[in-house]
Protein backbone atom coordinates (compact mmCIF):
# COMPACT_ATOMS: atom_id res chain seq x y z
CA UNK A 1 0.00 0.00 0.00
CA UNK A 2 2.71 2.44 1.05
CA UNK A 3 4.76 1.27 -1.91
CA UNK A 4 1.86 1.71 -4.34
CA UNK A 5 1.29 5.13 -2.90
CA UNK A 6 4.84 6.28 -3.46
CA UNK A 7 4.70 5.04 -7.01
CA UNK A 8 1.39 6.81 -7.52
CA UNK A 9 3.04 10.03 -6.48
CA UNK A 10 5.92 9.64 -8.83
CA UNK A 11 3.47 9.31 -11.71
CA UNK A 12 2.07 12.39 -13.32
CA UNK A 13 -0.32 13.28 -16.08
CA UNK A 14 -3.73 12.05 -17.04
CA UNK A 15 -3.06 8.34 -17.33
CA UNK A 16 -1.77 8.23 -13.77
CA UNK A 17 -4.84 10.13 -12.56
CA UNK A 18 -7.11 7.71 -14.36
CA UNK A 19 -5.52 4.52 -13.11
CA UNK A 20 -5.37 5.82 -9.57
CA UNK A 21 -9.03 6.86 -9.69
CA UNK A 22 -10.10 3.57 -11.27
CA UNK A 23 -8.57 1.67 -8.35
CA UNK A 24 -10.68 3.48 -5.76
CA UNK A 25 -13.59 1.55 -4.27
CA UNK A 26 -16.53 3.56 -5.54
CA UNK A 27 -19.28 1.13 -4.65
CA UNK A 28 -22.27 2.06 -2.56
CA UNK A 29 -21.32 0.74 0.87
CA UNK A 30 -21.31 1.88 4.49
CA UNK A 31 -18.14 3.52 5.69
CA UNK A 32 -18.80 4.82 9.18
CA UNK A 33 -15.72 4.89 11.41
CA UNK A 34 -14.67 6.46 14.70
CA UNK A 35 -12.88 9.77 14.78
CA UNK A 36 -9.66 8.02 15.77
CA UNK A 37 -10.00 5.48 12.96
CA UNK A 38 -10.58 8.32 10.52
CA UNK A 39 -7.37 10.00 11.64
CA UNK A 40 -5.51 6.72 11.22
CA UNK A 41 -6.31 6.80 7.50
CA UNK A 42 -3.97 9.76 7.06
CA UNK A 43 -0.31 8.93 6.61
CA UNK A 44 2.88 10.75 7.48
CA UNK A 45 3.86 12.99 4.61
CA UNK A 46 0.37 13.30 3.16
CA UNK A 47 -0.95 16.47 1.62
CA UNK A 48 -4.13 17.12 3.58
CA UNK A 49 -6.65 19.66 2.27
CA UNK A 50 -8.80 21.18 4.99
CA UNK A 51 -12.42 21.92 4.13
CA UNK A 52 -14.34 24.97 5.24
CA UNK A 53 -12.72 28.37 5.44
CA UNK A 54 -11.30 30.53 8.19
CA UNK A 55 -13.39 29.85 11.32
CA UNK A 56 -16.14 27.97 9.56
CA UNK A 57 -16.73 24.22 9.18
CA UNK A 58 -13.13 23.49 10.11
CA UNK A 59 -12.75 19.73 10.72
CA UNK A 60 -11.22 20.58 14.08
CA UNK A 61 -12.01 17.30 15.79
CA UNK A 62 -10.15 15.42 13.09
CA UNK A 63 -7.21 17.81 13.41
CA UNK A 64 -7.32 17.14 17.14
CA UNK A 65 -7.11 13.41 16.45
CA UNK A 66 -4.28 13.93 13.96
CA UNK A 67 -2.27 15.97 16.45
CA UNK A 68 -2.79 13.32 19.12
CA UNK A 69 -1.80 10.58 16.68
CA UNK A 70 1.52 12.39 16.20
CA UNK A 71 1.40 12.44 12.44
CA UNK A 72 4.51 14.04 10.84
CA UNK A 73 5.59 15.98 7.78
CA UNK A 74 2.10 16.80 6.64
CA UNK A 75 1.42 19.44 4.04
CA UNK A 76 -1.85 21.25 4.61
CA UNK A 77 -3.73 23.29 2.06
CA UNK A 78 -6.83 25.40 2.61
CA UNK A 79 -8.56 28.38 1.11
CA UNK A 80 -7.93 30.51 4.22
CA UNK A 81 -6.38 29.30 7.43
CA UNK A 82 -7.28 30.47 10.93
CA UNK A 83 -6.24 28.95 14.28
CA UNK A 84 -6.29 25.54 12.60
CA UNK A 85 -3.14 26.69 10.82
CA UNK A 86 -1.59 27.80 14.09
CA UNK A 87 -2.35 24.42 15.62
CA UNK A 88 -0.89 22.30 12.83
CA UNK A 89 2.36 24.26 12.80
CA UNK A 90 2.65 24.60 16.59
CA UNK A 91 1.97 20.91 17.16
CA UNK A 92 4.69 20.05 14.70
CA UNK A 93 2.51 17.89 12.46
CA UNK A 94 2.78 20.30 9.50
CA UNK A 95 5.87 21.05 7.52
CA UNK A 96 4.05 23.25 5.03
CA UNK A 97 0.81 25.20 4.68
CA UNK A 98 -0.45 26.16 1.21
CA UNK A 99 -3.08 28.89 1.46
CA UNK A 100 -4.04 32.43 0.56
CA UNK A 101 -4.20 33.92 4.07
CA UNK A 102 -2.86 32.65 7.36
CA UNK A 103 -3.66 34.26 10.69
CA UNK A 104 -6.09 33.57 13.49
CA UNK A 105 -8.47 36.29 12.35
CA UNK A 106 -8.50 40.00 11.64
CA UNK A 107 -9.88 40.93 15.04
CA UNK A 108 -6.94 39.31 16.82
CA UNK A 109 -4.18 40.93 14.76
CA UNK A 110 -1.42 38.97 13.08
CA UNK A 111 -1.03 35.48 14.48
CA UNK A 112 2.05 35.23 16.70
CA UNK A 113 2.04 31.49 16.26
CA UNK A 114 2.10 31.69 12.47
CA UNK A 115 4.83 34.33 12.67
CA UNK A 116 6.97 32.33 15.07
CA UNK A 117 6.90 29.06 13.16
CA UNK A 118 7.07 30.58 9.69
CA UNK A 119 9.67 33.27 10.38
CA UNK A 120 11.90 30.71 12.07
CA UNK A 121 11.68 28.55 8.97
CA UNK A 122 10.25 25.62 10.89
CA UNK A 123 7.13 25.55 8.75
CA UNK A 124 6.69 26.82 5.22
CA UNK A 125 3.78 29.08 4.28
CA UNK A 126 3.28 28.94 0.51
CA UNK A 127 1.10 31.85 -0.56
CA UNK A 128 -1.35 31.86 -3.47
CA UNK A 129 -4.18 34.26 -4.17
CA UNK A 130 -7.58 33.10 -2.97
CA UNK A 131 -8.99 32.66 -6.47
CA UNK A 132 -5.85 30.80 -7.47
CA UNK A 133 -6.37 28.35 -4.60
CA UNK A 134 -9.95 27.87 -5.75
CA UNK A 135 -9.00 27.30 -9.37
CA UNK A 136 -6.21 24.91 -8.43
CA UNK A 137 -8.69 22.68 -6.60
CA UNK A 138 -11.23 23.16 -9.39
CA UNK A 139 -8.74 22.13 -12.07
CA UNK A 140 -8.08 18.94 -10.15
CA UNK A 141 -11.82 18.38 -9.69
CA UNK A 142 -12.25 18.73 -13.47
CA UNK A 143 -9.52 16.24 -14.32
CA UNK A 144 -7.52 19.05 -15.93
CA UNK A 145 -3.83 19.80 -15.42
CA UNK A 146 -4.47 23.53 -14.96
CA UNK A 147 -6.95 26.36 -15.23
CA UNK A 148 -6.27 29.82 -16.63
CA UNK A 149 -6.56 32.84 -14.36
CA UNK A 150 -6.47 36.57 -15.01
CA UNK A 151 -5.04 37.61 -11.64
CA UNK A 152 -1.59 36.92 -10.18
CA UNK A 153 0.09 38.63 -13.17
CA UNK A 154 2.67 41.27 -12.39
CA UNK A 155 2.75 40.51 -8.70
CA UNK A 156 5.46 39.17 -6.47
CA UNK A 157 3.03 36.46 -5.42
CA UNK A 158 3.35 34.97 -8.87
CA UNK A 159 7.06 35.75 -9.06
CA UNK A 160 7.71 33.86 -5.84
CA UNK A 161 5.73 30.91 -7.28
CA UNK A 162 7.36 31.13 -10.67
CA UNK A 163 8.30 27.48 -10.76
CA UNK A 164 4.68 26.56 -10.15
CA UNK A 165 2.69 28.61 -12.65
CA UNK A 166 2.97 29.01 -16.42
CA UNK A 167 1.93 31.75 -18.77
CA UNK A 168 0.33 31.36 -22.17
CA UNK A 169 -0.92 33.53 -24.95
CA UNK A 170 -4.58 32.81 -25.61
CA UNK A 171 -4.92 31.39 -29.14
CA UNK A 172 -8.33 33.03 -29.47
CA UNK A 173 -7.65 36.54 -28.23
CA UNK A 174 -3.87 36.94 -28.10
CA UNK A 175 -4.12 37.86 -24.43
CA UNK A 176 -1.76 36.73 -21.72
CA UNK A 177 -3.13 34.25 -19.21
CA UNK A 178 -1.56 32.67 -16.16
CA UNK A 179 -2.06 28.93 -15.79
CA UNK A 180 -2.33 27.62 -12.25
CA UNK A 181 -1.64 23.91 -11.79
CA UNK A 182 -4.20 21.47 -10.44
CA UNK A 183 -3.83 20.91 -6.70
CA UNK A 184 -4.54 17.27 -5.92
CA UNK A 185 -4.46 16.60 -2.18
CA UNK A 186 -3.78 13.09 -0.93
CA UNK A 187 -6.68 13.51 1.46
CA UNK A 188 -9.42 16.09 1.84
CA UNK A 189 -10.93 16.36 5.30
CA UNK A 190 -14.32 18.03 5.33
CA UNK A 191 -16.79 18.77 8.10
CA UNK A 192 -20.47 18.94 7.13
CA UNK A 193 -23.85 19.34 8.76
CA UNK A 194 -25.08 15.92 7.69
CA UNK A 195 -23.92 12.90 5.77
CA UNK A 196 -25.28 9.40 5.29
CA UNK A 197 -23.34 6.20 6.04
CA UNK A 198 -22.32 5.96 2.37
CA UNK A 199 -20.77 9.42 2.33
CA UNK A 200 -23.43 11.52 0.60
CA UNK A 201 -22.74 14.87 2.20
CA UNK A 202 -25.08 17.82 2.55
CA UNK A 203 -23.81 21.26 3.43
CA UNK A 204 -26.02 24.16 4.50
CA UNK A 205 -25.14 27.78 3.86
CA UNK A 206 -21.57 28.73 3.08
CA UNK A 207 -19.96 26.16 0.82
CA UNK A 208 -16.49 27.65 0.43
CA UNK A 209 -14.41 25.32 -1.76
CA UNK A 210 -16.05 22.17 -0.47
CA UNK A 211 -17.74 21.22 -3.71
CA UNK A 212 -14.46 21.13 -5.60
CA UNK A 213 -12.24 19.83 -2.80
CA UNK A 214 -13.70 16.33 -2.54
CA UNK A 215 -13.61 15.94 -6.30
CA UNK A 216 -10.00 17.12 -6.39
CA UNK A 217 -8.57 14.89 -3.69
CA UNK A 218 -7.34 11.34 -3.99
CA UNK A 219 -9.23 10.36 -0.84
CA UNK A 220 -11.90 12.08 1.23
CA UNK A 221 -12.67 11.81 4.93
CA UNK A 222 -15.89 13.38 6.17
CA UNK A 223 -16.73 14.37 9.71
CA UNK A 224 -20.36 15.23 10.22
CA UNK A 225 -22.49 16.80 12.89
CA UNK A 226 -24.95 13.99 12.33
CA UNK A 227 -25.10 10.79 10.33
CA UNK A 228 -28.50 10.68 8.68
CA UNK A 229 -30.17 7.90 6.76
CA UNK A 230 -29.77 7.57 3.03
CA UNK A 231 -33.55 8.13 2.80
CA UNK A 232 -33.20 11.56 4.32
CA UNK A 233 -30.49 12.43 1.81
CA UNK A 234 -32.72 11.25 -1.03
CA UNK A 235 -35.54 13.49 0.06
CA UNK A 236 -33.50 16.49 -1.13
CA UNK A 237 -30.84 15.19 -3.51
CA UNK A 238 -30.20 18.72 -4.76
CA UNK A 239 -28.75 19.57 -1.36
CA UNK A 240 -26.12 16.83 -1.62
CA UNK A 241 -22.87 18.69 -2.28
CA UNK A 242 -20.61 15.75 -3.01
CA UNK A 243 -21.39 12.13 -3.78
CA UNK A 244 -20.71 9.03 -1.71
CA UNK A 245 -18.31 7.45 -4.17
CA UNK A 246 -15.54 9.95 -3.54
CA UNK A 247 -15.71 9.38 0.23
CA UNK A 248 -13.59 6.83 2.07
CA UNK A 249 -14.76 7.29 5.66
CA UNK A 250 -17.47 9.07 7.62
CA UNK A 251 -17.22 9.90 11.32
CA UNK A 252 -20.01 11.45 13.34
CA UNK A 253 -18.65 14.23 15.54
CA UNK A 254 -21.17 16.66 17.04
CA UNK A 255 -19.59 20.08 17.47
CA UNK A 256 -16.74 18.70 15.38
CA UNK A 257 -15.77 22.18 14.23
CA UNK A 258 -15.54 23.78 17.69
CA UNK A 259 -14.26 26.33 18.57
CA UNK A 260 -14.92 27.34 14.97
CA UNK A 261 -18.46 27.50 13.63
CA UNK A 262 -20.81 25.22 11.76
CA UNK A 263 -23.41 27.16 9.76
CA UNK A 264 -26.88 27.12 11.26
CA UNK A 265 -25.78 25.16 14.32
CA UNK A 266 -23.15 27.19 16.16
CA UNK A 267 -21.10 30.35 15.68
CA UNK A 268 -17.40 30.54 16.49
CA UNK A 269 -16.70 30.18 20.20
CA UNK A 270 -15.46 33.77 20.40
CA UNK A 271 -14.44 33.69 24.05
CA UNK A 272 -12.39 30.59 23.46
CA UNK A 273 -10.81 32.15 20.38
CA UNK A 274 -9.92 35.13 22.57
CA UNK A 275 -8.35 32.74 25.04
CA UNK A 276 -6.23 31.15 22.31
CA UNK A 277 -5.10 34.57 21.12
CA UNK A 278 -4.29 35.65 24.63
CA UNK A 279 -2.39 32.49 25.52
CA UNK A 280 -0.24 32.68 22.39
CA UNK A 281 0.31 36.42 22.21
CA UNK A 282 3.27 36.92 24.53
CA UNK A 283 5.18 33.72 24.00
CA UNK A 284 3.73 31.80 21.06
CA UNK A 285 5.86 28.76 21.73
CA UNK A 286 5.01 28.33 25.37
CA UNK A 287 1.47 29.59 24.88
CA UNK A 288 0.61 27.12 22.18
CA UNK A 289 2.33 24.32 24.09
CA UNK A 290 0.12 25.09 27.07
CA UNK A 291 -2.95 25.37 24.86
CA UNK A 292 -2.24 22.07 23.10
CA UNK A 293 -1.56 20.37 26.41
CA UNK A 294 -4.84 21.52 27.86
CA UNK A 295 -7.14 21.10 24.84
CA UNK A 296 -5.39 18.54 22.65
CA UNK A 297 -3.12 16.17 24.55
CA UNK A 298 -4.85 15.79 27.93
CA UNK A 299 -8.46 15.23 26.80
CA UNK A 300 -8.94 11.62 25.82
CA UNK A 301 -12.01 12.19 23.70
CA UNK A 302 -13.54 14.97 21.64
CA UNK A 303 -16.32 15.17 24.23
CA UNK A 304 -13.68 15.88 26.84
CA UNK A 305 -12.30 18.68 24.65
CA UNK A 306 -15.78 20.18 24.55
CA UNK A 307 -16.07 19.80 28.32
CA UNK A 308 -12.85 21.72 28.77
CA UNK A 309 -14.00 24.45 26.40
CA UNK A 310 -17.03 24.56 28.60
CA UNK A 311 -20.80 24.56 28.54
CA UNK A 312 -21.13 28.35 28.64
CA UNK A 313 -19.12 28.84 25.48
CA UNK A 314 -20.89 25.97 23.75
CA UNK A 315 -24.34 27.29 24.54
CA UNK A 316 -23.44 30.84 23.53
CA UNK A 317 -22.10 29.59 20.21
CA UNK A 318 -25.17 27.42 19.70
CA UNK A 319 -27.53 30.25 20.45
CA UNK A 320 -25.76 32.45 17.90
CA UNK A 321 -25.65 29.66 15.34
CA UNK A 322 -29.36 29.03 15.47
CA UNK A 323 -30.10 32.68 14.80
CA UNK A 324 -28.69 32.60 11.30
CA UNK A 325 -31.87 33.54 9.49
CA UNK A 326 -33.39 35.57 12.27
CA UNK A 327 -33.89 39.10 10.99
Amino acid sequence: MAQAKREGRALSGYEALRSETALRDRSLHEKVVSLEAAAALINDGDHVAIGGCMMSRTPMALLWALVRAGRRDLTFSRSIVSSDGDIVVASGIAKKVITSWFSQGIVWGISRVMRHWVESGTAEFEEWSHLAMGLRYRAAAMGLPFLPIRSLMGSDVQRRLSGETREMICPFTGEKLVLVPALRPDVAIIHVQRCDPYGNAQIDGLQFMDIDLPMAAKRVIVTTERIVSNSQIRRSPDRTKFPFFVVEAVAEVPYGSAPHECYGLYEPFFRHMDLFAKMTKEDPERGSRDYLQRFFYEPRSWNEVLQRIGMDDLLTATSGGRNVHDE
Binding site: S56, R115, E119, W128, S129, R150, G205, G321
Partner: protein
Protein backbone atom coordinates in the same frame (compact mmCIF):
# COMPACT_ATOMS: atom_id res chain seq x y z
CA UNK B 1 -11.74 62.79 19.76
CA UNK B 2 -8.96 63.29 17.32
CA UNK B 3 -6.57 66.09 16.79
CA UNK B 4 -4.82 66.95 13.54
CA UNK B 5 -3.09 70.22 12.90
CA UNK B 6 -4.91 72.84 14.89
CA UNK B 7 -8.46 71.60 14.45
CA UNK B 8 -10.19 69.45 17.05
CA UNK B 9 -12.69 67.09 15.59
CA UNK B 10 -15.44 65.04 17.10
CA UNK B 11 -14.62 61.83 15.27
CA UNK B 12 -11.98 59.14 15.42
CA UNK B 13 -9.59 58.32 12.60
CA UNK B 14 -11.54 55.16 11.80
CA UNK B 15 -14.76 57.13 11.69
CA UNK B 16 -13.21 59.63 9.33
CA UNK B 17 -11.87 56.87 7.06
CA UNK B 18 -15.22 55.14 7.06
CA UNK B 19 -17.24 58.23 6.24
CA UNK B 20 -14.88 59.31 3.46
CA UNK B 21 -14.82 55.79 2.03
CA UNK B 22 -18.60 55.60 2.07
CA UNK B 23 -18.74 58.78 0.01
CA UNK B 24 -16.51 57.22 -2.61
CA UNK B 25 -19.18 54.60 -3.28
CA UNK B 26 -22.05 55.17 -5.67
CA UNK B 27 -25.55 53.80 -5.98
CA UNK B 28 -25.84 50.67 -8.06
CA UNK B 29 -22.25 49.62 -7.55
CA UNK B 30 -21.17 46.13 -6.62
CA UNK B 31 -18.56 46.28 -3.90
CA UNK B 32 -16.23 43.63 -2.57
CA UNK B 33 -15.83 44.48 1.10
CA UNK B 34 -13.84 43.08 3.98
CA UNK B 35 -14.92 43.43 7.59
CA UNK B 36 -14.16 46.59 9.53
CA UNK B 37 -13.95 49.95 7.82
CA UNK B 38 -14.86 48.62 4.33
CA UNK B 39 -18.03 46.89 5.45
CA UNK B 40 -19.06 49.83 7.60
CA UNK B 41 -18.38 52.24 4.73
CA UNK B 42 -20.42 50.17 2.28
CA UNK B 43 -23.29 49.81 4.72
CA UNK B 44 -23.21 53.50 5.52
CA UNK B 45 -23.37 54.31 1.82
CA UNK B 46 -26.36 51.96 1.41
CA UNK B 47 -28.19 53.72 4.20
CA UNK B 48 -27.39 57.25 3.16
CA UNK B 49 -26.99 57.66 -0.58
CA UNK B 50 -26.66 54.29 -2.30
CA UNK B 51 -29.66 52.07 -1.48
CA UNK B 52 -29.05 49.94 -4.57
CA UNK B 53 -25.42 49.19 -3.72
CA UNK B 54 -24.55 45.52 -3.37
CA UNK B 55 -21.98 44.07 -1.00
CA UNK B 56 -20.02 40.92 -1.77
CA UNK B 57 -18.08 38.93 0.81
CA UNK B 58 -15.16 36.72 -0.05
CA UNK B 59 -16.66 33.78 1.85
CA UNK B 60 -19.27 33.46 -0.91
CA UNK B 61 -21.99 35.93 0.00
CA UNK B 62 -23.94 38.18 -2.36
CA UNK B 63 -26.05 41.09 -1.16
CA UNK B 64 -25.94 40.66 2.61
CA UNK B 65 -27.06 43.39 5.00
CA UNK B 66 -25.32 43.69 8.29
CA UNK B 67 -27.29 43.73 11.49
CA UNK B 68 -26.24 46.77 13.56
CA UNK B 69 -24.32 45.68 16.61
CA UNK B 70 -23.84 42.15 15.28
CA UNK B 71 -20.87 42.71 12.98
CA UNK B 72 -19.22 39.63 11.48
CA UNK B 73 -15.70 38.71 12.66
CA UNK B 74 -14.54 37.99 9.12
CA UNK B 75 -16.08 37.56 5.68
CA UNK B 76 -16.30 33.81 6.07
CA UNK B 77 -18.74 33.01 8.84
CA UNK B 78 -22.48 32.77 9.03
CA UNK B 79 -22.96 36.31 10.35
CA UNK B 80 -21.90 37.43 6.88
CA UNK B 81 -24.91 35.73 5.40
CA UNK B 82 -27.47 37.71 7.37
CA UNK B 83 -30.22 38.81 5.04
CA UNK B 84 -28.10 37.76 2.05
CA UNK B 85 -29.62 37.38 -1.39
CA UNK B 86 -27.37 34.50 -2.31
CA UNK B 87 -24.69 32.26 -0.89
CA UNK B 88 -22.29 30.53 -3.29
CA UNK B 89 -18.86 28.88 -3.38
CA UNK B 90 -15.83 31.09 -2.74
CA UNK B 91 -14.36 30.41 -6.16
CA UNK B 92 -17.58 31.58 -7.79
CA UNK B 93 -17.87 34.78 -5.81
CA UNK B 94 -14.26 35.61 -6.65
CA UNK B 95 -15.04 34.76 -10.27
CA UNK B 96 -17.43 37.70 -10.32
CA UNK B 97 -14.30 39.83 -10.21
CA UNK B 98 -12.87 38.12 -13.26
CA UNK B 99 -16.22 38.20 -15.07
CA UNK B 100 -16.33 41.96 -14.55
CA UNK B 101 -19.40 42.30 -12.35
CA UNK B 102 -17.57 44.02 -9.50
CA UNK B 103 -17.05 47.78 -9.56
CA UNK B 104 -14.95 48.29 -6.49
CA UNK B 105 -12.96 46.28 -4.02
CA UNK B 106 -11.66 47.51 -0.71
CA UNK B 107 -8.11 46.78 0.31
CA UNK B 108 -5.81 47.67 3.12
CA UNK B 109 -2.20 46.79 3.65
CA UNK B 110 0.95 47.09 5.65
CA UNK B 111 2.53 49.13 2.86
CA UNK B 112 1.43 50.96 -0.25
CA UNK B 113 3.75 52.58 -2.77
CA UNK B 114 3.67 55.45 -5.22
CA UNK B 115 2.00 53.29 -7.88
CA UNK B 116 -0.59 51.87 -5.55
CA UNK B 117 1.04 48.48 -5.16
CA UNK B 118 0.14 46.89 -1.84
CA UNK B 119 2.10 44.60 0.42
CA UNK B 120 0.31 42.31 2.84
CA UNK B 121 2.86 39.50 2.76
CA UNK B 122 6.33 40.30 4.04
CA UNK B 123 8.25 42.94 5.93
CA UNK B 124 11.90 42.37 5.08
CA UNK B 125 13.41 39.76 2.79
CA UNK B 126 10.70 37.24 1.88
CA UNK B 127 13.16 34.40 2.40
CA UNK B 128 14.02 35.63 5.89
CA UNK B 129 11.24 38.03 6.76
CA UNK B 130 11.30 40.32 9.73
CA UNK B 131 7.54 39.89 9.78
CA UNK B 132 5.49 37.33 7.93
CA UNK B 133 2.14 38.99 7.27
CA UNK B 134 -1.07 37.00 6.68
CA UNK B 135 -0.81 37.24 2.89
CA UNK B 136 -2.99 37.93 -0.09
CA UNK B 137 -6.33 36.34 0.65
CA UNK B 138 -8.47 37.69 -2.16
CA UNK B 139 -6.40 40.88 -2.22
CA UNK B 140 -4.36 39.95 -5.26
CA UNK B 141 -7.49 38.95 -7.17
CA UNK B 142 -9.37 42.10 -6.22
CA UNK B 143 -6.44 44.34 -7.10
CA UNK B 144 -5.87 42.50 -10.37
CA UNK B 145 -9.48 42.50 -11.51
CA UNK B 146 -11.37 45.46 -10.01
CA UNK B 147 -11.02 49.10 -9.17
CA UNK B 148 -9.68 49.45 -5.69
CA UNK B 149 -10.35 51.77 -2.80
CA UNK B 150 -7.79 51.72 -0.04
CA UNK B 151 -8.63 53.08 3.40
CA UNK B 152 -5.66 53.28 5.74
CA UNK B 153 -3.93 55.41 8.30
CA UNK B 154 -1.40 57.80 6.82
CA UNK B 155 2.00 56.84 8.14
CA UNK B 156 5.43 57.28 6.61
CA UNK B 157 6.37 53.63 7.13
CA UNK B 158 3.22 52.61 5.25
CA UNK B 159 3.46 55.03 2.32
CA UNK B 160 6.73 53.91 0.78
CA UNK B 161 8.56 54.54 -2.46
CA UNK B 162 8.44 50.84 -3.35
CA UNK B 163 6.71 48.11 -1.40
CA UNK B 164 8.98 45.29 -0.28
CA UNK B 165 6.64 42.77 -1.88
CA UNK B 166 3.84 43.32 -4.38
CA UNK B 167 1.04 41.21 -2.96
CA UNK B 168 -1.72 43.14 -4.71
CA UNK B 169 -0.76 44.92 -7.90
CA UNK B 170 -1.44 48.60 -8.33
CA UNK B 171 0.02 50.26 -11.40
CA UNK B 172 3.24 48.25 -10.91
CA UNK B 173 6.04 50.47 -12.29
CA UNK B 174 3.57 53.11 -13.49
CA UNK B 175 2.71 54.21 -17.02
CA UNK B 176 1.40 51.29 -19.07
CA UNK B 177 3.23 48.65 -17.04
CA UNK B 178 0.07 47.27 -15.44
CA UNK B 179 -1.57 46.75 -18.81
CA UNK B 180 1.61 45.30 -20.26
CA UNK B 181 1.81 42.79 -17.44
CA UNK B 182 -1.51 41.45 -18.69
CA UNK B 183 -3.79 43.17 -16.20
CA UNK B 184 -6.35 44.60 -18.60
CA UNK B 185 -8.92 45.95 -16.15
CA UNK B 186 -9.23 47.60 -12.76
CA UNK B 187 -6.52 49.30 -10.77
CA UNK B 188 -6.31 51.48 -7.69
CA UNK B 189 -8.78 54.34 -7.74
CA UNK B 190 -8.57 56.23 -4.51
CA UNK B 191 -6.54 55.98 -1.32
CA UNK B 192 -8.39 57.41 1.65
CA UNK B 193 -6.36 58.28 4.69
CA UNK B 194 -6.94 60.29 7.81
CA UNK B 195 -5.23 63.21 6.06
CA UNK B 196 -6.28 63.18 2.44
CA UNK B 197 -7.73 61.46 -0.57
CA UNK B 198 -5.12 60.36 -3.04
CA UNK B 199 -5.53 59.28 -6.62
CA UNK B 200 -3.31 58.55 -9.59
CA UNK B 201 -2.16 60.59 -12.55
CA UNK B 202 -3.97 59.18 -15.60
CA UNK B 203 -0.75 58.85 -17.60
CA UNK B 204 2.17 58.35 -15.24
CA UNK B 205 0.01 56.51 -12.69
CA UNK B 206 1.98 58.22 -9.92
CA UNK B 207 0.09 58.81 -6.71
CA UNK B 208 -1.14 62.33 -6.17
CA UNK B 209 -3.13 64.22 -3.60
CA UNK B 210 -6.66 64.76 -4.89
CA UNK B 211 -8.20 66.32 -1.81
CA UNK B 212 -7.19 67.31 1.68
CA UNK B 213 -9.33 66.77 4.71
CA UNK B 214 -10.32 70.04 6.43
CA UNK B 215 -7.45 71.60 8.32
CA UNK B 216 -4.81 69.40 6.73
CA UNK B 217 -2.02 70.94 4.65
CA UNK B 218 -0.03 69.46 1.81
CA UNK B 219 2.97 69.58 4.12
CA UNK B 220 1.12 67.52 6.73
CA UNK B 221 0.58 64.85 4.11
CA UNK B 222 4.11 65.02 2.74
CA UNK B 223 5.50 64.70 6.24
CA UNK B 224 3.80 61.33 6.60
CA UNK B 225 4.57 60.02 3.11
CA UNK B 226 7.77 58.21 2.17
CA UNK B 227 7.92 59.53 -1.40
CA UNK B 228 7.17 62.68 -3.40
CA UNK B 229 3.50 63.15 -4.06
CA UNK B 230 2.07 64.91 -7.09
CA UNK B 231 -0.81 67.31 -6.61
CA UNK B 232 -4.09 67.25 -8.52
CA UNK B 233 -5.17 70.56 -9.94
CA UNK B 234 -7.49 71.79 -8.57
CA UNK B 235 -6.80 70.36 -5.16
CA UNK B 236 -10.09 69.87 -3.35
CA UNK B 237 -10.88 70.03 0.32
CA UNK B 238 -13.22 67.36 1.59
CA UNK B 239 -16.35 68.20 3.54
CA UNK B 240 -16.07 67.06 7.16
CA UNK B 241 -18.19 64.13 8.34
CA UNK B 242 -21.74 65.21 9.02
CA UNK B 243 -23.69 64.55 12.18
CA UNK B 244 -25.98 62.26 10.21
CA UNK B 245 -23.07 60.21 8.88
CA UNK B 246 -21.51 59.86 12.29
CA UNK B 247 -24.76 58.98 14.02
CA UNK B 248 -25.62 56.35 11.50
CA UNK B 249 -22.13 54.90 11.67
CA UNK B 250 -22.19 54.69 15.45
CA UNK B 251 -25.53 52.95 15.25
CA UNK B 252 -23.94 50.30 13.05
CA UNK B 253 -21.04 49.70 15.41
CA UNK B 254 -22.40 50.54 18.86
CA UNK B 255 -19.67 48.58 20.61
CA UNK B 256 -17.09 50.60 18.66
CA UNK B 257 -15.32 47.42 17.54
CA UNK B 258 -14.02 48.99 14.37
CA UNK B 259 -14.54 52.73 14.79
CA UNK B 260 -12.77 53.25 18.09
Amino acid sequence: MNEIGSVTRSWTTSELLTVMASRALHDGQIVFAGVGVPLLAATLAQRLHAPGLTILFEGGVIGPFIVPGDLPPSTNEQRCTRRANMVCPITDVLMLLQRGFVDVGFLGGAEIDRYGNINTSFIGDPDHPKTRLPGSGGGNDIASLAHVIVAMKHEKRRFVERVQFVTSPGYLEGGASRHEAGLLAGGPKVIITDLAELGFDPVTKRMRIEALHPGVSVEDVEAKTGFDLDLADPLRVTAPPTERELEMLRELDPDRLYIA
